[in-house]
């Protein structure tokens, strides 16, 4: 079922993924119906997709369901990935985060009782393996850069990214006006960007 496909006809030049973007390269091959490429893509991204879902959903069962949806979405919609708009991994994680957040919000609509637990919980199971710890260099960078934020910035990012809260909920949880929380989120991302760029 290898079918050659054309890119979207919007006239933009299509840059092939860079050599240091194996996920992007695999997405491009997956878009052509290349099943072995998709299997390899799975090896690259599944621990990241699943780990992010576990972190946001705080429930391994639901995380597995959402991961499955996300990973199949990568198969179905690989042709939407545009290498000139960013690396493959960023695209994958954007899809995964959005799905996980959508799920946690729909679950919250039913029960909204985990609020306090949400601010502190960091699920850790016995099933972490090599990749998790062997990339602890990057992991530590992120933690160090998160620590370099102001308390309000860090809480805003944590509640939004890791717990799927809207900025309105974050403002309410932290007792801060809406315009403040919106700008703190942006400031925090800019500071993280600069910190991570230096740490690389």
């Amino acid at each position: 079922m290898v079918r050659q496909r054309t890119r979207p006809g919007d006239g933009q030049p299509v840059r092939p993924p860079a050599d240091d973007d194996p996920v992007g390269a695999l997405l491009v091959r997956t878009a052509r119906g290349d099943e072995p490429a998709f299997a390899e893509l799975y090896e690259h991204v599944a621990p990241r997709v699943y780990g992010l879902c576990v972190r946001v959903l705080r429930d391994p069962g639901q995380a597995e369901e959402v991961s499955q949806e996300v990973l199949l979405e990568l198969w179905r919609r690989a042709a939407r990935y545009q290498p000139d708009r960013g690396t493959g991994l960023v695209w994958v994680l954007t899809v995964a985060h959005r799905r996980a957040v959508d799920r946690v919000r729909s679950a919250q609509a039913r029960t909204d009782r985990e609020e306090r637990a949400a601010a502190t919980a960091t699920p850790r199971g016995g099933d972490e393996v090599a990749e998790q710890v062997t990339i602890r260099m990057e992991h530590q960078q992120v933690r160090r850069c998160l620590r370099a934020l102001t308390e309000l910035q860090r809480q805003a990012v944590t509640l939004a990214y890791y717990h799927g809260r809207t900025y309105r909920e974050v403002a309410e949880l932290l007792g801060v006006p809406l315009p403040t929380i919106k700008s703190r989120m942006r400031d925090a991302l800019i500071r993280l960007r600069d910190c991570l760029a230096v740490a690389r």
Binding site: A46, R77, V90, V101, V129, H139, V142, S183, M185
Partner: protein, 253 residues
Amino acid sequence: MNRGYPFRRHSADVHTLIGPYVLDAVTGPERHAVERHRVHCPSCDAEIAELTATAARLADSTIRTPPEALRQRVLAEARRTRQDPPSAHADAVRRIGWHGWDAVAAVLLLVVFAVLVTYGVQQTRVDRARQQNAVAQSRQQDVAAVLAAPDAELVPTTLPDGARGRLVVSRSDDRAVVTLTGLPALSGRHTYQLWLVSGAGHPASVGVLDVGTRSTTRVVSGIAAAEAFAVSTEPAGGSTRPTNIWASVPLTG
């Protein structure tokens, strides 16, 4: 930042939403407002792309190995799932038209998948999954022991042909965790073999990959005396001496 044209009335609001948008902390209508705006505002578009890449780094600290069963389900379902065409137009249509018969068809499709997965496929896999789980668990314990060693260190690993490798070495434990991904496909019945090379003796084989395997994580013993870790390409089943060294990573220092 094009604060005037073409959304003079709303663009100020939209700009304040960039941070929340990047963190997926907005509602659906707000998300669409930002997406409509960025099409016309190159500077916002560039900032959003950059901050989105930054936000993705927040996932660095959440990596976790998924259950083996997930892999089997995803790959099996992909095999029977038709891919979407690459048109951006279809994306827009889908966003608006996701109701009525589309939704009914989608639900039916999901039911069919669920039935297939639950009754048709899962049964035959249970035993194999259990077996793999047991093996994976004992392997994970070994891996965790090496990584937890106080002197565990990451050895810089450069591999040819776009492959990626990570090597975490604990000399006190005399073991290392080797992770290889994206190994190039080999022609015919050939595969990769892993070696430890010491100054005096012959290279010692520390594992042979199955033919067709392109990524692996393994615990390797006998690291303390080794000066290099090497990967060779061999006929299926491996060799007693390396035939063709594909990569070599110094361990000294």
